[in-house]
Amino acid sequence: MESVAFERRVQEHKDRVYSYAAWMLRDLEEARDVAQEALVRLWQHREKVEIPATRSWLLTTTHRLCIDRLRRRQKRPEVSEEEQLNPTPDEGPSPMRLAASSETGRAIADALDKLGRQDRAVVVMRELQGMAYDEIATALGLPLGTLKAKLHRARERLRRHLTAAGVTP
């Protein structure tokens, strides 16, 4: 049955979609809205999305929905020009930091928060979601070489943050 197969896909991927949106948006309510929208779109496109491609399709869709939200945020008049050019995290700990259950987890959350939006997307997709390079390149619209270079630099920045936090050597 179609609905049974869809429900199975949702159960398998709902947490990763929600987590990804939370990493990108740093707001649980917006992350919830985006995750819901991504899953509803999967229902609307269920006949076109093959089961093995579900994870990649959902994360790509979630990413694009997050970008739309972030662009709408930046257009708000109360957002200063400086913030538009260099978006900074909201004040206070990010929801991912609050969700961490260990000192290392909190340090990782802080380090990822310090990355630029696209670098964070690359790291989360590759290191936390296990997507292949070509899937990430498609999702973010990046050439493969550029993607690898971004990931390498992002890893080095994360390593420096974690070393400064006393978490890694």
Binding site: F6, D15, A107, I108
Partner: protein
């Protein structure tokens, strides 16, 4: 034991660090791995770099994840599966039913020899038309019987739109035949050949 290299130039370090990063994604070729091991054995900075990257990989496994709230999931069901309580009658369901009908038709082909050739009206396809189809008269008659039997057997249960889809499914075999002439009533079993 890997022999340390003496080459700790910036280029050598850059090359080694690139390989160390690539190794995080999967095993290196033996020669590349040996080169990295040799460089790291002789370069403290790159050794620390490698250890830091490995520790980073471990640390990332501790990254927090979130659980999608149950209430949010209920809203997803409301907007998807619950919004369409009737099973969606996509073409996929039609294809399965029509495939079953095609199997029936295939079984009935075996009865062809026992049933005998059907009567073909004088307006049947010419030899030229049959040649275009790549069929003999017998093959055409057989295809016609198949089409009639399948349609008769399933016609009462199939709605109009599905009937059209059935014709499409069978179009590979009997479609050309159906297009050439209407389904005649069963007449004399004596074959009537059109003039050639």
């Amino acid at each position: 034991m890997t022999r340390p290299t003496d080459d700790t130039t910036p280029i050598a370090c850059a090359r080694a660090r690139r390989a160390i990063q690539e190794a995080l994604d999967g095993p290196l070729e033996a020669a590349s791995q040996a080169a990295v091991d040799g460089h790291v054995a002789g370069c403290e900075a790159c050794r620390e770099y490698r250890d830091g990257m490995l520790a980073l990989s471990d640390a990332l496994r501790a990254a927090p994840g979130l659980r999608f709230p149950d209430g949010a999931l209920e809203e997803v069901w409301d907007r998807t599966v619950r919004a369409e309580p009737t099973p969606r009658r996509g073409l996929g369901r039609h294809w399965r039913g029509l495939a079953a009908a095609a199997v029936v038709a295939g079984v009935l082909v075996g009865l062809w020899a026992w049933v005998g050739p059907v009567t073909r009206p004088a307006s049947g396809p010419s030899a030229e038309q049959l040649a275009e189809l790549g069929m003999t008269h017998e093959e055409f008659d057989r295809a016609l019987v198949e089409a009639r039997l399948v349609l008769d057997l399933t016609g009462s249960a199939i709605k109009r739109t599905e009937h059209a889809a059935l014709e499409q499914v069978l179009g590979g075999e009997v479609g050309p035949a159906l297009r050439l002439l209407p389904i005649p009533n069963t007449g004399s079993k004596e074959p009537r050949r059109s003039g050639t």
